[in-house]
Symmetry: C2
Subunit: 262 residues, 2 copies
């Protein structure tokens, strides 16, 4: 496998930032984390942070590494977003919560993801919450727009990232509007593992999977109770095993057939 899967818990190096005060200090450090990051080609945060040395001084990027605890709200809707952030390590959820407590999770954010379509918005309509402990890097919006204008390649990566984000939520809308509970859960799991594995999903291979059933419920528009039933059904059918936040798909084609992915 070319892409490493998300490591279970432990941070990869000793430079992890523990809080905002430390993060600001780190901003000046010469060897920024992004330089040593294993994020795949074609991701926006990689395009922004690699090859910087060849560029003129004014195209340099301010990078502010931050950390977040489990369940911490990274961004709260209807507040000025300030910076754009990329997920470096851990899982997060983009979500909307209604006045009466109903909640819809719109997307799972994995390492390398940026909420990018909102670069020019003054207020976002969603919030972002950490699922696991999180490491993120913040970028100044002005840096990003300047870079896009100066570099056709960055514009293309930015445009592709917008398109990918739209495609993802379009798929979610189709699932929510027109697919059964079994299809939704199957497709959600396969979609996440597909991204985790760099599009090479392996059978009988353990993948870190920190989502709780209530997270899955709010992603699929179901109740946690019904998610439990569907997962039990999958488990009893020998399709997958999910224990201790580790997912093993034991019958990949079976799971894909349920999700109409084959």
């Amino acid at each position: 496998m070319s892409n490493r899967t998300f490591g279970a818990g432990a941070l990869r190096n000793g430079t992890a930032i523990k809080g905002d005060a430390v993060a600001v200090k780190q901003q000046r450090e010469p060897d920024l984390p992004c330089r040593r990051c294993g994020i795949g080609e074609g991701r926006l945060c990689r395009a922004l942070t690699r090859g910087v040395s060849q560029m003129s001084k004014e195209c340099q990027f301010r990078q502010i590494p931050c950390a977040a605890a489990e369940n911490e709200i990274i961004y709260s809707k209807n507040t000025p977003p300030g910076d754009i952030f990329a997920v470096c390590q851990g899982w997060a959820l983009r979500f909307v919560e209604l006045a009466d407590g109903r909640r819809q999770n719109l997307a799972v954010l994995l390492p390398g993801d940026i909420c990018v379509a909102t670069l020019f918005e003054d207020e976002l309509h969603f919030s972002v919450q950490a699922v696991t402990k999180l490491r993120i890097t913040r970028f100044a919006r002005a840096d990003l727009t300047r870079r896009i204008l100066s570099d056709a390649h960055t514009l293309e990566v930015y445009g592709k990232a917008c398109a990918a984000q739209l495609r993802d939520v379009d798929e979610r809308a189709v699932d929510l509007g027109r697919r059964s509970a079994e299809e939704r859960v199957s497709r959600l799991i396969l979609g996440i593992v597909d991204r985790l594995s760099g599009h090479r999903v392996l059978q009988n291979h353990p993948y870190a999977f920190p989502l709780l059933q209530r997270h899955i419920a709010d992603l699929t528009g179901l109740t946690p109770v019904h998610v439990s039933r569907v997962m039990s059904e999958f488990r009893n059918a020998g399709l997958l095993r999910l224990t201790k936040r580790s997912l093993m798909i034991t019958n990949l084609t079976g799971l894909e057939q349920i999700g109409r992915l084959n």
Copy 2:
């Protein structure tokens, strides 16, 4: 009202193009339709087509006006999209159809709308179908990317358009995942009329509304039968009247309360 509502059927001027062959011929005409178009400020197609005279020759835009019949498929998924198009007149739907015939409409495209987040995609995951007779204008992708790179304002309008498209489908996903049938239908209608009216919805004012109940059903994830029941309920409650493709909201605050918009 600052914005005219979509005129019922008749084309606004005599230069409408009837087919592709004619469209290519029109391409050379000096007075392009976009110059005389009433599309509002802040729309991407307007930013692209106004102020061209001051720009250098290489930033000029090729504009190909086209027409489409009712129900015609404008773009079919998984084919190279070629051009980017803007809706000039009429209504269209962005949708996904599954192998077994289930269909989810993802967005209503009104005059001024462009499927813009897909500028850098080689294959789109959705299709587009005309609801009414349609007039669209096609732009070459290369022209658009060149313009974005050369003009910070166009980049901003482009970015805002991407964000608006994402916000729209996010809202749809929340509706589909977490709202009741009544809420979905109410919000859909109010959202469309809000755009039609330039964000100044009037009570007891007739708006062109060419969507059939099956279109509404595929937008809200319901069946046409249930949409009929919800619409009857709204009608009997004195909230709205919808006859001959013309919608009149007779109790705006009541409809907004059902949709939790107030």
